[in-house]
């Protein structure tokens, strides 16, 4: 036991002291913050755009209000001359509205030096559209005020369970997606870390020296636990830094603009980064909300550690099979990474339909449960995920950890001392059925 502890300490300290660890641990929260702040800064940088408008149709004159730092100035000038010398008058660009029939608007042109940005383009288009719609309504004899009255906003508040908790499907989806994805990344990144560590020991030929002092199982578990400690340390620092930075954030930036930026980011995106960003923002803004955060955090820690331990042993076994050639690693590691990749696809299904067949089965089988179950839990326990499912899933995962560790230890013990020849999966199968 004492020896395992010495090994854990070494594995932990050598990694934590590395420059690359210190850099990523400190840099990631700042990158995260940057991702949140970028849209805000993007909007603020639009300041003081002066746009000249040449309105040959006369429909739009005076109806384009300034916004977001863009000033519209209607000018009486020939577009043919202005489009060549607008810069001399201090304009950023020229919007040309040709003479037109209001029911058949033609092309609007915008002359500028460089490409106009997306935000400005969509703003400008919306303004032009509004003016045209107003004019058409007038022509059709529709009273605009009445129409506004008729338009209505519907909001469904989802009350779940006996105690009628208020929930948010959008938030659950975002949190589920985010934490599932995070666990997926942890499994791969730290699992590969374990594999590389074992490979290093084998190719450096330090393995046999070690094995003459400690049992192979002690060496393997020491490494796995040590790297788990590295992962936990990193997460702890990240959480502290992110929370800390978020508390400091309002001092620098107006919170209102931050909210609108994140909302826009979410609307535009659909990409993973912006989804994660929205999730993060919502997490911060909705802490007082009714999702049971303690349950989500507890389960996250459980599935983070459980999933890691389940896969780390397998990655260690793969590492012990690799000889000098790193290409061997790629083919040998595939059977281990495959279920991890499958679980991310199952998760896509599970966040949309948390009680679907794929979601329930995926969250039971230990190979996929860490990722898939985390996608379901934010929808509510025991509302969406009954207690029996959660407990069964956890027990199966614990059983799975014992199983993979047992299998991996057998492979590792033989593999770590085998040099020179390439090992096939068939041989590995033989080691498993062989007795001591």
């Amino acid at each position: 036991m004492n020896k395992i502890w010495i090994i854990i300490k070494r594995e932990y300290l050598t990694r934590v002291r590395k420059k690359s660890f210190v850099i990523t641990t400190i840099l990631v929260p700042f990158l995260f913050l940057g991702m949140i702040l970028l849209p805000v800064l993007m909007m603020q940088s639009d300041d003081n755009e002066k746009v000249a408008v040449v309105d040959d149709s006369k429909f739009f004159t005076g109806k384009m209000a300034d916004d977001g730092g863009v000033h519209y100035k209607f000018v009486n000038a020939k577009i043919d001359t202005l489009k060549n010398n607008y810069a001399d008058f201090g304009y950023t660009g020229v919007l040309h509205i040709p003479a037109m029939d209001i029911n058949r608007p033609g092309n609007f042109n915008y002359y500028s030096k460089g490409q106009m940005n997306v935000m400005m383009k969509s703003n400008m288009e919306r303004k032009l559209k509004n003016v045209i719609e107003d004019l058409r309504m007038e022509e059709a004899g529709i009273d605009k005020a009445k129409l506004e009255n008729i338009r209505t906003q519907v909001d469904i508040v989802n009350l779940t369970g006996k105690d009628e908790k208020k929930g948010s499907a959008g938030l659950a989806l975002a949190v589920g997606y985010g934490s599932g994805f995070l666990i997926y990344m942890i499994l791969l990144i730290f699992g590969m870390g374990v594999m590389r560590g074992v490979m290093e020991e084998k190719t450096n030929r330090v393995a046999e020296v070690m094995i003459s002092s400690v049992k192979p199982f002690q060496l393997m578990m020491g490494k796995i636990v040590g790297i788990a400690g590295v992962g936990l340390t990193q997460f702890l620092i990240w959480i502290v830094l992110i929370v800390g930075l978020n508390l400091l954030l309002p001092l620098f930036i107006d919170p209102a603009s931050l909210q609108s930026a994140s909302a826009q980011g979410g609307a535009m995106g659909g990409g993973q980064s912006s989804a994660a960003m929205v999730e993060m923002m919502e997490k911060i803004n909705f802490v007082k909300d009714n999702v049971s955060w303690s349950m989500v955090i507890f389960c996250f820690l459980f599935y983070f550690l459980g999933g890691y331990l389940f896969y780390a042993a397998l990655f260690a076994a793969v590492g012990s099979l690799v000889n000098e050639d790193p290409n061997d690693a790629q083919s040998l590691v595939f059977p281990v990474t495959l279920p991890v990749i499958i679980s991310i696809f199952m998760m896509f299904a599970a966040v949309r339909k948390p009680n679907g067949l794929i979601a329930i089965w995926g969250s039971m089988i230990p190979f996929t449960s860490p990722v898939v179950m985390m996608a379901r839990i934010p929808y509510g326990v025991p509302g969406t995920v009954p207690y029996w499912q959660l407990i069964l899933s956890m027990l199966l995962l614990i059983g799975g950890i014992v199983g993979t560790t047992w299998v991996a230890a057998k492979i590792y013990r033989t593999g770590i001392l085998l040099y020179g020849k390439k090992i096939t999966l068939k041989e590995v199968g033989k080691w498993l059925v062989r007795k001591n």
Binding site: K3, T14, N204, R205, V206, E208, V209, I211, S212, S213
Partner: protein, 304 residues
């Protein structure tokens, strides 16, 4: 008293018998050579003695008691042929780490590190990373980490590979000193001249079997060809050399290598020359080198 006794040890793999019924014993404080060609089963044998492998059958007795890898491992120092160190670790930390895994407390380990680093003149490397050292230097660090915990049994597999003559001598002196202080040493190598220089006792294995066992002196006697080198004042004429006591193997400048015939005694050779009044300047018996014994014995078992 024997520190290690091995009886009928067997270890079979799916395709071959790596160790097939080997027995021998090693007296306390002796330097014991384990010899054999590549693939003879030496490494498997050593791995069983160090508790890395379990034998299929047979007994190992360590220091008077049945060998228990869990507790006895700390009295063994093993420098395997496939050896290495953590490249990114500092030399001092590395040795400290390996010593602690052998059961030394941190304080004890630190004292020993200081002592050995001083003795082998590597104190200045303490804070260098292992990867910055030359191969020979790494070898020295490896040796220290093997003997740090003062093992009762020290197993060295090719300990001199990669060392220059000066450092080789340094390590060799260290080995002798440890043996004098009671450490039993198993020494495995292909370098036969080192075996003669260092070992008291050898065992030769091939194809999983023991084919030779005995003290270096005894083995040389057992395998001697009764050859003698005679140095003469002048070359005698061939007629004077006819005798039933010996046959001439080789003629040299001013001398002969001769083989003593059966039923004749060493002094019969000398008497022959004295009788013919030929001046003998030197006379010595030619014993086989361990290298010659090794080659002839291995060839013999290969032929079977």
């Amino acid at each position: 008293m024997n520190l290690l006794e091995i009886e009928h040890l067997k270890k079979y793999y799916a395709t071959h018998k790596a160790v097939d019924d080997i027995s021998f014993s090693i007296p306390k404080g002796s330097i014991f050579g384990l010899l054999g060609p590549n693939g003879a089963g030496k490494t498997t044998l050593l791995r069983m003695i160090t508790g890395i492998f379990y034998p299929d059958s047979g007994n190992i007795t360590f220091d008077g008691k049945p060998f228990n890898p869990g507790t006895d491992i700390r009295y063994i120092g093993y420098m395997p042929e496939e050896r290495g160190l953590y490249k990114k670790m500092k030399v001092g930390e590395q040795v400290l780490y390996l010593a602690q895994l052998k059961g030394l407390s941190k304080k004890e380990a630190q004292e020993k590190v200081g002592y050995w680093f001083e003795k082998l003149q590597i104190t200045s490397w303490h804070n260098k990373k292992v990867e910055e050292l030359s191969k020979g230097m790494q070898q020295k660090v490896q040796f220290i980490s093997t003997i740090m915990h003062h093992p009762k049994l020290l197993i060295l597999d090719e300990p001199f590979s990669g060392l220059d003559p000066i450092n080789s001598q340094l390590i060799q002196d260290e080995i002798f000193e440890m043996a004098r202080n009671g450490t039993t040493i198993i020494f495995s190598t292909h370098r036969m001249e080192q075996v003669e220089e260092i070992c008291d006792h050898i065992v030769l294995v091939n194809k999983g079997h023991k084919i030779l066992d005995g003290s270096v002196k005894q083995i040389k006697q057992d395998f001697k060809q009764h050859l003698f080198r005679v140095g003469l004042d002048q070359q005698p004429n061939p007629a004077q050399m006819a005798t039933h006591h010996f046959t001439i193997i080789k003629q040299q400048e001013k001398g002969y290598t001769v083989k003593l015939n059966e039923y004749s005694k060493t002094n019969d050779i000398l008497s022959h020359f004295i009788h013919h009044d030929i001046q003998v300047n030197s006379f010595e018996e030619i014993l086989p080198t361990i290298n010659e014994v090794f080659i002839s014995q291995v060839k013999l078992t290969e032929a079977n």
